[in-house]
Amino acid sequence: MNPVLLIAIPLLFAFLSIMNKKFARPLLLVALLLDVYLVFTISKGLYSIGGFSQYGINLLVDQYSLIGLMVVNVVFFLTVVTNCKEVKRLSTVLLVALAGVNGLLLTNDLFNLFVFLEIVGISAYLITSGNKRPLATFNYLVQGTVGSGLYLLGLILLYSMTGTLNMALILPTIVDKAIPLSNLALPFMLMFIGLGVEAKLLPFNSWVKGVLQNANALTSVLIAGVFATTIALTFGRLLSTVFVLGSISNIVLVILAVTMLAGEVAAFASKRIREVLLFSAIAQSGLIILLFANGLVIPAIMLIIANIVSKYILFTITGKMVDGTKTDEIESLQGVFSKNKLVGFAFTVASLSVIGLPLFFGFIVKLNILTSLFSQYQLFLSALILVVSLIEGTYFVKLLIKLWYSVGEVKTFKVDALVKVVTLIFALGLIVFGVYTKPLTDSLMTVPEEMMEAIAERGNF
């Protein structure tokens, strides 16, 4: 099957859905089902749009984008299914967002990436507009627009030097023309900042708090789970196959390290459960980009998968919990899980996996990260990750103890059976993969090679 259908079908349905509002939600579900089906049937390769080989726009399907597509589409589908009530007025926006997310993962063209970045960005502004805080969303919009503007500036500088927009051709052209690294520092820095806004990296992430602080389950899972994963994967592809960091790599590392530390410290200090998860998410995305910047593609993808699964569980349950109890102060939520044992179990598994305790998938991921870093002699970074994990462990354990052990009266909340089933399956998945990881590591083995193959073949067929 042609992977362009992954983008074309949601778009077609989005255009159809505005003709009659009644059909919007069924169309969304059909499009999601079709996309999930398509993801598992498309075959690898480079697909041209319009038939202009390397001179037009191409879509690249390799192991990397295939894994990303599977994870993102499945989680997107489950998010919509488990939050069916909130979806109603946003159906068209979600259809466009689905197309944008798939486009970001598939595209092999720098400017096309910018267009999809805008599509995803605008749908994100609209998805977060439901939280009745227009100022926060406005802030997000302004920062997102400036970010993508800076990305565009970097892109055009790169184009003027290399004469191409094809991602697979940039690196070979740089080598061919022998462009010195110092000349590339400015465009790459601009593009890094531009994507950093969306990827929640530190000096550029003041939008996150306002937007996600009061978000419901749908919004927070979409923004912190689906969109964050997509942006991280896109960023990862750029960092590993297009960017030559060279002289700016030190600045980049400092930004990322500060992002991680500040995120964890803020999470540690926070008294609201959603803020804790939010700052933890910021720190995690810093870590993911850090791994990509160091060329550790396989651990980064493992972390991304672990992240989206645990983020789905944590944010869904928190969203339902806050809806039911009308509060997100940790103090007043004491002991909620003693009445909702199943949900509490899933939440606990997810948070323990984030910390990286043995028996859970997170442990395998952290172990993998540390061994890779040690083999590169990156002692400073390994120490940083250990410190960060320690802080993370402290506040998550503190949070779990508060949520399990009741003092006095206990608030209750109701959860749909569907949500229970899905979160439990995901939690069990985290345990199963924590014990038996072989299929995943096997399928990840070939990722770095395949990523480089596209460059070696110079975008030809």
Partner: protein
């Protein structure tokens, strides 16, 4: 010369974004930023003495044209700019309906 002016325009837009505390003024600064960006993109493809990229009369493609690709990119970016501006203004109207002012400082702590 226009290239330098366009970079100054981008910087002025950023300066406006940093200093202005009025929602509408922020969107205006955003527009200044985008105009600067568009001018810069076009300037990258300019060739001294090049023709506008349209084949007319008895001209052929051997003549030197300016680079048409940045023009196509700018067309896209202008339209995207209108989209975000319209959305930003819609949010501004929402903000006004909620707080009764465009000044962020007068809205109080959220």
């Amino acid at each position: 010369m226009i290239q330098y002016a366009s970079i100054i325009l981008i910087m002025l837009g950023l300066y406006g974004l940093l200093t202005n505390r009025n929602v509408i003024k922020i969107i205006i600064s955003l527009n200044v930023f985008e105009i600067g960006l568009n001018l810069f993109i076009i300037s990258v493809g300019y060739v001294d003495g090049g023709l506008a990229p349209i084949l007319t009369g008895n001209s052929t493609s051997v003549l030197s044209f300016v680079d048409p690709l940045p023009h196509a990119l700018v067309l896209t970016s202008i339209v995207i700019g209108v989209g975000t501006t319209a959305l930003g203004l819609a949010f501004a109207k929402k903000i006004y309906a909620k707080y009764g002012t465009y000044e962020i400082d007068e809205m109080g702590v959220e």
